[in-house]
Amino acid sequence: MRVARVRMRMRKPVGSEGRQERGGRAGAGAVVVVGAGPAGVAAAVCAADQGVRVVLVDSAVRAGGQFYRQPDARWGARRPQVLHHGWRTWQRLTARLDAHLADGQVTHLAERHVWFVERAGGDGFVVHALGGSGQDRPETVRGDAVLLATGAYEKVLPFPGWTLPGVVTAGGAQAMLKGGLVLPPGRTVVVAGTGPLLMPVAAGLAAAGARVGALIESAGPGRLAWGAAKVAGHPAKLAEGARYAAALVWRGVPVRTGHAVVAAHGSVRLEAVTVAALDAEGRVRAGTGRRIACDALAVGHGLLPHTGLAGALGCRIEETAYGGWGVAVDGEQRTDLPGVWAAGEASGVGGAELALAEGEIAGRSIAARLRGREPDRRGCAAAAGTRAGLRAFARVIDGVYGPPAQWAERVGDDTVVCRCEEVPASAVRSAVAGLGATDLRSVKLLTRAGMGWCQGRVCAPGVAGVAGCAWSPASRVLAQPVPLAVLAREEGAAP
């Protein structure tokens, strides 16, 4: 299906401060930045500093992305920094953003969900978004260049009981806390899975008043010690980890490494989890299962980049040198498609600081290239050095953390693996064993796993693991659901 040449009813986009922008046409020398997280904002201010017009399009009310997600401005939080790491960096950056919003160099289109980016016949790009509370108000923004700073979301691998209400992603629990200043209903939260996100999530929930029953990290003490030795050259990162560890001790949160939640229990909502010790191969040690009563489980197994818009544009997506997948970029954060840049988690998961460095490099590159110049190497040197160091750090992190090798064997036949279409593991297994499926696409066509609302974003890694086939980011035409009425409004059709 080709969705190009969709004509939108143009509305005057309203900036974050109620300022109106001219008809959606950003003009010559303009970049559309998709995503107002650390990478997008860093790029926007760097490009704007050099005179480029920037339209920053983002789904949230306030800039910040997931990492710097904040409550509504009307709440007047006087200590927002207590829920954030690197708050001063963000304050400095948003001060620069605010200055550019005031002088009109940057326009912030908030609460716009971008669902498609297309090349405009030889003349830049058209970014298609949906606005309005029901996400049904189409809008387009044109630019000479596009930066995809679309961030990441959490990977959760299935286990018995993971569809019970009360089981949420670790990042989701953090997002609800940072943005809504709310804790999961109930008294006790268990934080589990693997990855560097778990410690700040557990520490944040505990600081905000939740009783954190335990932090369960599947990476064993041996891996963690190996990682600590490898990152000796990153004292700030070690100190950050030590601070979270100390906060957990101070709050009385028991931390179990080399353990995993092997099942969640409850009838209509979560009531308890079973935690078991793992051996060096990731197998459950017999007889170590222990039940912990809890009302919520915040669980995650790492992050996955949002590569949907890049994939639909035709950008190459590849495994990065520092773990996981991402939109392929060169030293200037340029994708293989002229005029399209990518930065932050979208081009490879490595954290907010890496995203800031990549955003700065991308912003400088965009400013230079739109004028037909080479970017100033010296101007980018500091950010490039930071980027190299943080990618090396991300590579170590990727080696330390990871789901236990045997996780798929513990997924019971009756465990739902595709949450949207309610496909049990047994259906996936019989598609492989009985029907001869050898790839994720065949499994999907035979079982409907991955065909639902989320289009497989959530279940694909889990389904691939249970099926025993390879996983890579799927190519999708649309980055999010779009009303048919919007798609139907094509050029030539009745208005």
């Binding site: 709440w75 209400p165 990042g171 209903p185 905000a208 008043g209 035409v477």
Partner: protein, 117 residues
């Protein structure tokens, strides 16, 4: 100080503006400006507000950032809204949702969606 239970609002010293009411299946629920439907329901102690179309299983927030579509809910007769993304307004009528979400029959045609492939 230590005797009083910490809250997220207390932690960041927030002073939310005056609240208002929304309804969940006709029952009044307190809400604060700027909160999402999901945050309002969590604060009210509600953890599930949808049942799945095949198994009739309860669901609520899962990803919390608009990716998973598990938290679908009907808001002001519009079904299939992501509770974690929609900001509440005073008087919003939030309804739990069963199956595909068009049991009430309102707006189902206009809300047909295309999801790719």
């Amino acid at each position: 100080m230590r005797l009083r239970r910490t809250t997220p609002q207390g932690l960041v010293r927030a002073r939310p503006g005056p609240g208002f009411e929304v309804t969940l299946d006709g029952r009044p629920v307190p809400a604060l400006p700027g909160r999402t439907v999901a945050a309002v329901l969590w604060e009210a102690g509600v953890v599930a507000w949808r049942t799945t179309r095949d198994g009739g299983r309860p669901r609520g927030v899962f990803c919390g950032i608009g990716v998973c579509f598990d938290c679908l809910v009907t808001v002001n007769d519009r079904p299939n809204q992501r509770a974690c993304l929609v900001t509440v307004s005073a008087g919003d009528a939030i309804r739990t949702q069963e199956g595909v979400g068009d049991a009430g029959g309102s707006g189902a045609d206009a809300d047909a969606e295309a999801g790719g492939e």
